[in-house]
Symmetry: C2
């Protein structure tokens, strides 16, 4: 951020009065430009004991498998966003059970939410950002070709919880040490 989005003046990066951390702020119109973590919301969608995965057609992690998920939009509930992303990426309609996993990724200022859901009719197809969609049994999961740690962790929780047919919300943090040399 270099310019004030309200008045177009150049911003500075310093601690505003009464605050305790640096923000972009405009000394022309006094706007403080807060920047906050974004939410990524998606589904662990199930059909006849199989899990729906999408192979990514875009970077990051192009060619690897993921659960359908994307940025929550303004004006949308987290649950509605999860269903929307599942439609956009996997052309699958879902009935959502409830929140299943939540992860903080502080190094990239993201919070991931995955909802456990059932496919409505078992149909799916590659949508935007997806080359291929498929349903996987536990023994078929491409563990070495998963796109993100949050996907791996969510799948591991699911197969573990499924043993006792007792599903509860799991939360966790994905901590990645930044390489100080590259800033």
């Amino acid at each position: 951020m270099k310019f004030c989005s309200a008045c177009g003046f150049e911003v500075v990066f310093r601690i505003p009065e009464g605050d305790n951390r640096e923000r972009y702020l405009c000394e022309q119109c006094d706007t403080v430009h807060y920047q906050n973590p974004r939410i990524i919301t998606g589904c662990l969608a199930i059909w006849e004991d199989k899990v729906l995965l999408c192979r990514r057609s875009i970077n990051p992690r192009k060619g690897l498998w993921t659960l359908p998920a994307g940025f929550l939009e303004n004006g949308e509930t987290a649950q509605a966003g999860a269903a929307r992303e599942t439609w956009e990426e996997a052309r699958a309609r879902v009935v959502i059970d409830d929140l299943y996993t939540m992860f903080s990724l502080p190094h990239i200022s993201q919070v991931y939410l995955f909802y456990k859901a059932q496919l409505l009719d078992g149909s799916y197809a590659a949508g935007a950002e997806t080359v291929e969609v498929a349903l996987f049994d536990e023994e078929e999961i491409p563990w070495e070709e998963l796109a993100f740690p949050v996907v791996r962790d969510t799948l591991q929780h699911y197969f573990q919880d499924r043993i006792h047919d007792h599903f509860r919300v799991h939360t966790g943090d994905i901590i990645v040490q930044r390489d100080r040399r590259s800033g």
Copy 2:
């Protein structure tokens, strides 16, 4: 948003190519300025079966009681943010159990997270944005003077779950119909 924060040029509000909703975008440097919901994170902090509440010294809902909570910051886990806010607003140190409630508030593009937590040593004091902090037994809760529906709902879940000493994550949406006359 009127100006591009990257180059200072005036932005337009339209659907970018390949997208399906309106965004602020800059036709000078091609930056799309995504705007997404913010996360508010806080604690349902307990001490000897009492709940910690803060009376707000600022608007909105000045003078009403709330659970300590505030905007999650970049670079922070949701859990760390909840503990930080509890320190900043109530000068109370907590040991967090786990996520307890999550609410989407699509009309203001916010997602609330409350963590169940125990006070570390029972000490507290009014911090920033707070006039007064106190511990409340169930029968003392000022139900008519609570600041936000998410606070009421979280307290209701807690006292209900406490009957059977079985606490699970509760999720929900707070839906407020916009008055179309006022936009």
